[in-house]
């Protein structure tokens, strides 16, 4: 017999929650228990008194599954609100990456040149290595990493996506 797979559509959700113990487990557990995907998840507290956290989740699924994910998140007691940036309107997505590259000679010069084009900054250097910091949309980071692969890439760390609606309104 066949196991069914659905066509996925990428969505970026922001979730504001009470910053209480277990909240992240509650949210990630909801995703695993109900079979939803998490492509990326970031979380940090965002209020002066550390009471509120904002989570950005990149997920995928057919529209009715995305609607369910929103509804399921929304009914958790510590969740204040869920916004689907993908449907809510124009928004920005940013991600930070740290990328370590080793090499000498021409490869090292080339790595620095490419980093300059991408406006990555050098945050650490030795005679045979760099650590670059790059912030941008995820696909920009993808292309930078792809180029670095040929120039001595040894390690990548990515923060996952943080997103926000464009314009004057808060969500």
């Amino acid at each position: 017999m066949k196991i069914a797979h659905d066509n996925a559509e990428r969505h970026v959700l922001t979730v504001t929650v009470d910053n209480e113990p277990g909240i992240l487990a509650k949210i990630t557990g909801l995703f695993t228990a109900r079979g939803y995907n998490i492509d990326s998840l970031t979380v940090a507290d965002i209020s002066a008194d550390h009471a509120i956290s904002r989570i950005t989740i990149v997920t995928g699924g057919p529209p009715q599954v995305i609607d369910q994910i929103e509804a399921q998140l929304d009914r958790l007691v510590p969740v204040h609100g869920v916004v689907d940036l993908t449907t809510a309107g124009p928004h920005v997505e940013r991600e930070l990456a740290l990328i370590k590259v080793t090499g000498t000679g021409e490869a090292r010069v080339e790595a620095l040149r490419v980093a300059d084009i991408f406006r990555a900054s050098v945050v650490d250097t030795t005679t045979e290595s760099f650590v670059f910091e790059l912030t941008g949309a995820p696909d920009k980071i993808d292309s930078f990493i792809a180029l670095m692969r040929e120039l001595g890439l040894v390690e990548v760390g990515r923060s996952g996506i943080v997103g926000m609606l464009r314009g004057a309104e808060g969500s």
Partner: protein, 590 residues
């Protein structure tokens, strides 16, 4: 309580008991252990709370469910850490699936030992995270009062459900420091939407008014919403004339004696209910959730209808069945809004629709053979339920059930006229639910007749609770339809696995009469149909608890049945051949 000066000097355990009293709690269903001794010491001699000592923590949780479902008030459970908490998990998961308001207090090892694999430590908050509406670990006695208050509010409002409050032993003993004493958690964070937007109500009413073939499909949400919801449902039905069916959980919201009552729908629902759903042009789902047991094959479910779904839980809307109009709100509130909006309208002439339904009714889908083919002298189980109903319905009994064929026969052949009289494990389908639930219901409704319609296999899952009923002199009745099989399993094996009865025979059964007697109960055995009425009368005449072992046909099957994965139009009825096998796609469905 916090304005008494003494409050500041109370231990966590004393604060807890005071909070329970303030919440109006009458009964605490529990079982002691090391991590809750401070709370048990507070309960000692406290006349304000009555502690019911069960025999297993699963019994405590199900008893709390039975109390909650029969009274509409939250059930309260108190268990120790580790095995106490894990034993309660099945009941917590059951309450979660069936939206039963419940607050479960679990003891935990002292704060300093959490995470060290201490004796009787279990990660209760982790284990119950996905089978509770919400849960807490309380690390400071100063937070207890606010936490307990919020726990009750969350358990009882919106879509009800179980809430676990895990309290480490040191927090039970400690006295909150004055500095923290006034700490309260934010109350803004949880506020269910009760009323529907006016335009949605108007749209729903217009859809019903234009319908030529309307049907109301109601569920446990109507019962959970309270007696007012039941009253308003009946009123709206009266105004619109819509034929009405209900899920297993919703039985009793609409009277079974009403001419427009279609019976239960779904897998073991009636022919007329399932065909009415299939042919309806407008379906109004009120407080139900399109469970797979109800819908059958999704792409063939009520294909011609425009669908309205009223539910307090927005995640229930469009979860499995897309609807034309989803209304988030409380059943009673929205029904009230709809009645007001309906005003003095007249429904369409539903004569033709009702005539069609009458045609389906004439199929008499609940008729069953007089005698079993393999076991011709045996009592037919359906007959036993019918007689039980006939001899008790005047007393409007509370019926609980276990899980299996007997549960479905009870749903099919025992008519309910009122809400809160039917307590069954619907979503989780937990064998062993019925006896503890009956105990909880009997405590909450001391003047009611409470009967657990049981199977001989299920009843053994929480058989230890016989002792609880004896101890508290609860006159509950257990009526076992003893077919010497896990009948529902046997039935599926006939349908799907060419009658290979793998492990579904109930071997080595106890003598239920002697077993009952050993606990101080009355035991009655019924073997012949001629003894059926007298046996039931004897059960009713005894003032204490009674266990009836009613021997029934071993081969009777529960019909009608929509095999899983089939459409509402593909029902099996009595007389249809249904033994054999199925393809893998069908076998994979539950």
């Amino acid at each position: 309580m916090s304005d008494t000066p003494k409050a500041d000097r109370q231990s966590g355990a004393a604060i807890l008991t005071q909070c329970l009293v303030d919440q109006g709690v009458e009964f605490v269903f529990g079982y002691p252990g090391g991590a809750v001794l401070p709370i048990y010491d507070e309960l000692f001699g406290d006349e304000r709370l009555r502690h019911i000592l069960v025999r297993h923590e699963a019994g405590a949780a199900h008893a709390a469910e039975g109390y909650a479902r029969s009274t509409g008030k939250p059930g309260v459970v108190l268990v120790t850490s580790g095995p106490g908490a894990t034993n309660a998990v099945t009941g917590i998961a059951d309450a979660f699936m069936d939206s039963i308001p419940m607050v479960v207090i679990t003891g935990q090892v002292p704060t300093a030992l959490i995470g060290t694999d201490a004796f009787q430590e279990a990660d209760t908050v982790g284990i119950t995270r996905h089978c509770t509406k919400h849960n807490y670990l309380v690390k400071d006695p100063a937070d207890l009062q606010a936490t307990i208050e919020e726990a009750f509010r969350i358990a009882t409002t919106g879509r009800p459900g179980p809430v676990v409050v895990d309290i480490p032993k040191d927090v039970q003993i400690a006295v909150p420091s004055a500095r923290n004493a006034a700490k309260l958690t934010a109350s803004h964070r949880y506020s269910p939407q009760m009323a529907a937007p006016a335009e949605q109500v108007i749209e729903a009413v217009e859809m019903i008014a234009a319908a030529e073939r309307p049907v109301f499909y109601t569920g446990g949400g109507v019962i959970n919403s309270g007696p007012e919801a039941t009253r308003l449902l009946r009123q709206l039905q009266d105004m619109t004339g819509a034929p009405t069916t209900s899920t297993l959980m919703g039985l009793g919201a609409f009277p079974s004696e009403h001419p427009d009552w279609l019976g239960m729908l779904g897998m073991h629902g009636t022919y007329e209910a399932n065909l009415a759903m299939n042919k309806a042009d407008v379906m109004v789902c009120i407080g139900a959730r399109f469970d797979d047991r109800v819908t059958g094959r999704l792409d063939a479910f009520s294909p011609e209808s425009k669908k309205v779904h009223i539910d307090i839980d927005r995640s229930s809307i469009n979860k499995t069945v897309p609807v034309d109009l989803g209304i988030v709100g409380d059943c009673a509130t929205v029904l009230g809004q709809m009645i007001e909006s309906w005003g003095a309208r007249k429904p369409q002439d539903l004569g033709e629709w009702k005539a069609r339904i009458a045609g389906w009714r004439a199929r008499e889908c609940l008729a069953y053979p007089e005698k079993s083919t393999k076991d011709p002298s045996a009592i037919m189980p359906q007959k036993a339920v019918e007689r039980l109903h006939a001899l008790t319905h005047k007393r409007e009994p509370i019926i609980t059930t276990e899980v299996g064929q007997h549960q479905m026969w009870a749903a099919q052949y025992f008519g309910f006229e009122k809400p809160n009289k039917w307590l069954t494990s619907g979503g989780l389908g937990t064998m062993g639910y019925g006896m503890p639930a009956a105990i909880g219901a009997q405590l909450g409704c001391p003047d009611d007749l409470v009967i657990d319609i049981a199977g001989e296999a299920s009843i053994q899952m929480n058989i230890q609770e016989l002792g609880t009923a004896s101890q508290y002199r609860l006159p509950v009745k257990i009526f076992i339809l003893n077919n010497e099989y896990m009948g529902m399993v046997r039935q599926w094996q006939e349908l799907t696995y060419e009658s290979r009865y793998s492990n579904s025979y109930s071997d080595s059964l106890p003598d239920f009469v002697k077993l009952a007697e050993s606990y101080g109960w009355t035991g009655i055995r019924i073997t012949e149909e001629s003894e059926l009425d007298a046996g039931i009368e004897a059960m009713l005449a005894a003032d204490g608890p009674v266990m009836v072992d009613c021997m029934v046909a071993k081969d009777a099957n529960c019909l009608p049945m929509i095999p899983s994965g089939a459409a509402h139009t593909e029902m099996l009825l009595y007389g249809d051949a249904h033994e054999g096998t199925m393809d893998d796609e069908a076998k994979a469905l539950v």
